[in-house]
């Protein structure tokens, strides 16, 4: 095989290589046979001498003798015959010339031996044996040479010494034929054998060439694989050596077979020490058993293995993270594991630090919450006393001066409370302690309640305060109505504050509904002073108002919008503001609320069908007209509108007498001709056309009620008015009108309503309650009981939970106002006892929690204890009665009831601290 300089081997063709191999084999055979014949001829020479010495050692002449010629012939002639072939066999083995000479010599040896043996027939076999030996060359030409020598010998003898061949002077041709025939016969047989032998040699050479070729290919592949393996090994070594992680290899018995330097650094054990089971010594004794058991379990199934454990080193304990992957052979039998080990000591330390820091942070947060709660309690409790008592005093007979001073005190108290609430809320939000309630509530009720608190202030400034709730906005929602009211209240309050004339419109629209939730979009639009463009970006930041002059002029802490922003974000939405080109601003915010699947408070069903009734809406405010129009049309009524008293009058006069309006809704406060004057004119000029009249006013005046009765107005209500209340009023008024019509005079003249429907009359329609007040604080006892009695309810007082339970056993109550923190037995425990009793006896007594706490989870604790509603101190009338309504509704969901929530003057700001 030839070698090339680059180490690759150039393969000759298969045939060429086979021929080369055959040539080498033949040469080797010829050489070997030459040497064999060299030895054989030597032996034959000696044998000839021995035969001559044995058979004819001496020739005699009588008594004398001498060495027989045969002996000399054997020695010299035999030597001559053998010498040349032997010499050539030794000097030129494998040469064709050599073997031909050997063939000739072998035959001559046969002739000599035959002669020396006296022509013994057995000696003739030497000829045949020689031919057979010559066949070893597998060269038929050699046989030809040998046969030629025999033939020549016989021919020459036959010619010159025939008697030496056959023993007679003449011989029959058949004798010659017989002699030749035997030789030819053997030649033919040997020729066939030689050919077969050559064929076998060729086949062997071919197979060997093929084998060499395959071997060469395999060698190349092995070389390549070895190179790849070496490269892979080298790469593994480099990777392993440079790896920041310890690399560790185990056999199937868990003994270490390889470890890199990093392992040595981590474990403190050298590779030699780690070999076999030595690596176990590095594992911390306390972790050894568990670690080994886990490894054994994983190894049993040939699964990957991960664990963290400690190593014990001279430098102390080290935590390591161990990852092992099984090595499997082709039959999925486990060969061992290849592992990586990372020193995670620092990580563990960091984790411990984190845990400590977290615990410290939690402790700090807990302390902060406690502080907030305590501060909230400590601040609210005396403030409750101040504000509440001031309210009570204001309801007594006072001089103008006293009333003025107390009003200022009350206002100051309210302002202080607002500031404190802002600060506490902001602190809570910043501390991440602000949680939202998730309770069922009425969206329209929430909006209405909020606007009612602003109505008085808006009326004082002559502003229209309008609620525009889209008809597709779901009313029964789940969320935190308190925080929603807080945001809405803040925005509306700001709008009213910064608007001198015009209107403030609160619009509510339903956004996308998804998965039982709905996005509700709110907007508060005002026609006020607006916001400077450069202030738009920062207006929601804490402690910023539009400018410092705003603070001086309008007051405020600057936290309201920041709190509103946080709250809207907590409620899954956001807030924004934009300037209106025509002046004023629009604050928009969205919240994400749940939709009640089974509203707890069913909307009031119609008791009087409104569909198909004709209604006239008279209001100079286009927005009001639009809103009323949409709502009334939504109820199936046919609506006509008039933007002024004059237009309304004209419309009514044109109305066919056979088709009077069933209902007329009139705005009291219209320019030129107000509502009262319009109604008076209608009564004069088109007495039947207006039907039942409902008057809405922005602010009531003394004597309005009497005037309403006088001119036949059925209902007189202050704005803003919820659509639910409007419907209730319309139904009640129409129902009242229907009863009156049945009892009408034959003339068909309208009968003036004997009673005027107002908010108060509606409230009075609801029943009075016997309330159990469980409160340990004397001031709060006085305050709460006064508020309740003012609204027509009876109050019994218990000083603690135990006393409350005793009173409940002795008397029947409609509601319990339960202070949470009382001596002997607190409100939570007392509520739980009450519910336990009810579980046995049946029924459910509404319980409203009274608390000054601001702790997270207070509300949840109250509800968990079985309470139905929650109001925080300092007590505010509106909040208290709203909570009472809520409790009554929860405890009797099929029968919506309500106490008086506000007086006719409108409400006050409602704040509920959580």
């Amino acid at each position: 095989m030839s070698e090339v300089a680059n180490g690759a081997t150039a393969q000759p063709s298969h045939a060429a290589r086979a021929a080369e191999i055959l040539g080498e084999a033949r040469l080797a055979l010829h050489t070997q046979t030459d040497r064999m014949f060299a030895a054989l001829m030597g032996l034959q020479w000696l044998a000839g001498i021995a035969a001559a010495v044995w058979l004819s050692p001496r020739t005699w002449i009588g008594a004398t003798s001498q060495t027989h010629l045969h002996v000399w012939a054997a020695i010299f002639l035999g030597g001559a015959i053998s010498a040349v072939p032997i010499a050539l066999a030794l000097l030129r083995p494998g040469s064709p010339f050599t073997r031909h000479v050997i063939a000739a010599g072998q035959m001559l040896t046969s002739a000599l031996l035959i002669h020396l043996s006296g022509g013994r027939i057995e000696t003739h076999f030497h000829v045949f044996g020689s031919l057979a030996f010559l066949a070893f060359y597998r060269d038929w030409k050699v046989l030809t040479t040998a046969s030629a020598v025999i033939a020549t010998d016989h021919i020459l003898r036959g010619i010159y010494w025939p008697q030496s061949v056959y023993g007679v002077l003449t011989a029959s041709p058949w004798r010659a034929f017989e002699h030749a025939g035997w030789v030819v016969f053997e030649d033919v047989v040997l020729f066939v054998a030689v050919r077969q032998g050559l064929r076998i040699m060729r086949e062997t050479a071919d197979q060997r060439a093929q084998l060499e070729s395959s071997h060469h290919v395999v060698e190349l592949q092995v070389e390549e694989r070895t190179r790849d393996l070496r490269y892979s090994e080298e790469r593994f070594r480099l990777l392993s050596a440079s790896s920041p992680a310890g690399v560790f290899e185990m056999d199937a018995q868990g003994g270490c077979t390889y470890a890199n330097r990093r392992w040595e650094e981590i474990s403190g054990l050298s590779f030699e020490q780690s070999q076999g089971q030595g690596w176990i010594q590095a594992v911390h004794p306390e972790d050894r058993n568990a670690m080994y058991a886990a490894w054994s379990a994983a190894a049993l199934d040939g699964q990957p293995f991960e664990r963290t454990f400690r190593l014990r080193t001279s430098g102390g304990e080290r935590w390591v993270s161990y990852h092992a992957a099984p090595r499997l052979d082709g039959q999925r039998a486990r060969l061992g594991y290849v592992s990586s080990i990372e020193d995670i000591t620092q990580q563990k330390q960091a984790e411990a630090e984190l845990i400590r820091a977290r615990e410290a942070a939690l402790e700090a947060a807990r302390l902060k919450s406690e502080f907030l709660a305590n501060m909230s309690h400590e601040i609210r409790t005396p403030l409750n006393g101040v504000i509440g008592m001031t309210e009570l005093v204001l309801e007594t007979e006072l001089t103008e001066e006293q009333r003025e001073y107390l009003s200022i005190a009350q206002t100051s108290g309210d302002l202080l409370l607002a500031v404190i609430n802002d600060i506490l809320d902001f602190s809570k939000i910043e501390a991440g302690r602000m949680d939202l309630d998730v309770i069922d509530f009425s969206l329209r009720g929430c909006v209405d309640t909020t606007l009612k608190t602003m109505a008085l202030r808006a009326e004082e400034k002559g502003l229209e305060l309008i609620a525009d709730i889209g008809p597709d906005v779901p009313d029964a929602l789940t969320g935190d109505p308190t925080r929603l009211r807080q945001v809405l209240s803040n925005l509306v309050s700001n709008a009213v504050k910064f608007t001198e004339q015009g209107e403030v419109v609160v619009a509510v629209r339903a956004g996308e509904e998804h998965g039982g939730r709905v996005r509700v979009d709110f907007s508060v639009t005002d026609t006020g002073i607006g916001i400077a463009t450069e202030k738009v970006e920062t207006i929601f930041e804490a402690f910023r108002q539009a400018d410092s002059s705003t603070t001086r002029k309008y007051g405020g802490t600057g936290l309201g919008l920041a709190i509103s922003k946080r709250l809207t974000e907590l409620m899954g939405g956001g807030i924004s503001v934009e300037r209106r080109p025509q002046g004023g601003s629009v604050f928009r915010f969205t919240v994400d609320m749940g939709v009640q699947q089974e509203p707890a408070v069913p909307e009031r069903g119609p008791s009087v069908p409104l569909a198909g009734l004709d209604v006239l809406v008279v209001d100079d405010n286009a927005t009001n007209r639009r809103i009323f129009g949409e709502v009334l049309v939504g109820w199936g009524m046919r609506v006509e509108q008039a933007e002024s008293a004059r237009a309304a009058l004209a419309l009514l006069e044109r109305r066919p007498p056979t088709r009077p309006f069933a209902l007329t809704i009139v705005d009291c406060n219209m320019p030129e001709t107000d509502g009262f004057e319009l109604v008076e004119r209608v009564r004069e000029r088109a007495p039947k056309s207006a039907g039942t009249i409902v008057m809405l006013t922005s602010g009531g005046q003394p004597g309005d009620a009497a005037r309403c009765r006088q001119i036949g107005i059925s209902a007189y209500l202050s704005k803003p008015i919820s659509m639910g209340l409007l419907r209730e009023v319309i139904e009640r008024a129409l129902a009242e009108a229907g009863r009156k019509l049945e009892a009408a005079t034959p003339s068909g003249s309208h009968s003036r309503p004997s009673s005027l429907i107002t908010r108060h009359s509606l409230a009075e329609a609801r029943r009075s309650l016997h309330v159990l007040l469980a409160e340990d604080n004397a001031v709060n006892q006085v305050l709460a009981s006064s508020l309740l009695r003012k609204h027509g309810h009876r109050v019994s007082i218990a000083n603690h939970g135990l006393e409350a339970l005793e009173l409940l056993e002795r008397d029947r109550f409609d509601l319990v106002l339960m202070d949470v923190h009382m001596p002997r037995m607190g409100g939570h425990e007392a509520s739980r006892r009450i519910r336990e009793r009810e579980a046995a006896s049946g029924g459910r007594l509404p319980i409203v929690a009274l608390t000054a706490q601001a702790m997270k989870g207070d509300r949840e604790k109250c509800f968990e204890a079985g309470m139905d509603a929650y109001v925080s101190k300092p007590l505010k009338s509106a909040e208290l009665f709203a909570a009472i309504d809520d409790a009554l509704r929860r405890s009797a969901p099929a029968t919506p009831r309500a106490t008086a929530t506000e007086d006719e003057d409108g409400g006050e700001e409602m704040r509920k601290a959580a």
Binding site: W60, I61, I81, V84, G118
Partner: protein, 222 residues
């Protein structure tokens, strides 16, 4: 001018050819000499045409007698005895066969009782006679070992000569054929009984005596 290497290349096969030619010549000469020796007969006998009366060799009256003279140590006579064995077998006891072993002066009987004696003794029906100093051989006029003389039943010489085709070679030969033919004339078309018509064939063997005789006997060449 051819280069040295070329000359060497040319010289080698020429030398080899020369070597082979020389070898063949030497071998040829040797083989010729050997063959010459093989076919060179010894001194022919001058036998009496009738049975010598003074001969001490026993003879059965009326039965053809074959007398064979042999040197006890002549290697060529081994083949003669082999042929005699064949003659005896072919004649099936029709011959009275005697083999005379000439014991030269200075040698004793033990010397003569060598392998040839043992060989002859093994031939059935063959009489072995010791012939000290070759007296009987001389009576029969034999000079060469392997000389065979056939006398018919009347004592007339029928055959004189060798019974091998060459020195030390067994095989078909005229002597054996003649003897067998004489004994069984029905196998051949002619029967020669006149002594002057006795068949003669060359005799291949060693000289029985050390000196030449005037009868033309030859001794084995050195």
């Amino acid at each position: 001018m051819p280069s040295t290497l070329a000359l060497r290349r040319l010289a080698r096969p020429a030398l080899l050819a020369l070597l082979v030619v020389a070898w063949i010549a030497v071998v040829g000469i040797g083989m010729k000499a050997l063959l010459d020796y093989q076919v060179r007969p010894g001194a022919a006998a001058q036998p009496p045409v009738t049975w010598p009366a003074a001969s001490a060799v026993p003879r059965t009256a009326g039965k053809p007698a074959l007398v064979l003279m042999a040197h006890p140590k002549c290697p060529c006579t081994r083949a003669t005895l082999g042929e005699l064995e064949g003659i005896v077998a072919d004649t099936r006891g029709a011959l009275d066969v005697s083999v005379l072993f000439v014991i030269p002066r200075g040698f004793d009987r033990a010397w003569a009782h060598a392998d040839l004696w043992q060989h002859a003794a093994a031939i059935p029906g063959v009489r072995l006679i010791e012939d000290p100093e070759g007296r009987e051989a001389q009576r029969f006029g034999a000079y060469t070992s392997g000389q065979a003389l056939l006398y018919d039943g009347a004592g007339r010489l029928a055959f004189a000569g060798g019974i091998t085709p060459g020195r030390g070679h067994e095989g078909d030969n005229a002597g054996r054929d003649a003897i067998v033919a004489c004994v069984r004339p029905q196998d051949h078309t002619l029967a020669r009984v006149a002594a002057h018509e006795a068949v003669q064939t060359p005799v291949y063997g060693c000289a029985l005596a050390s000196q030449n005789t005037t009868q033309g006997g030859r001794r084995c060449p050195k």
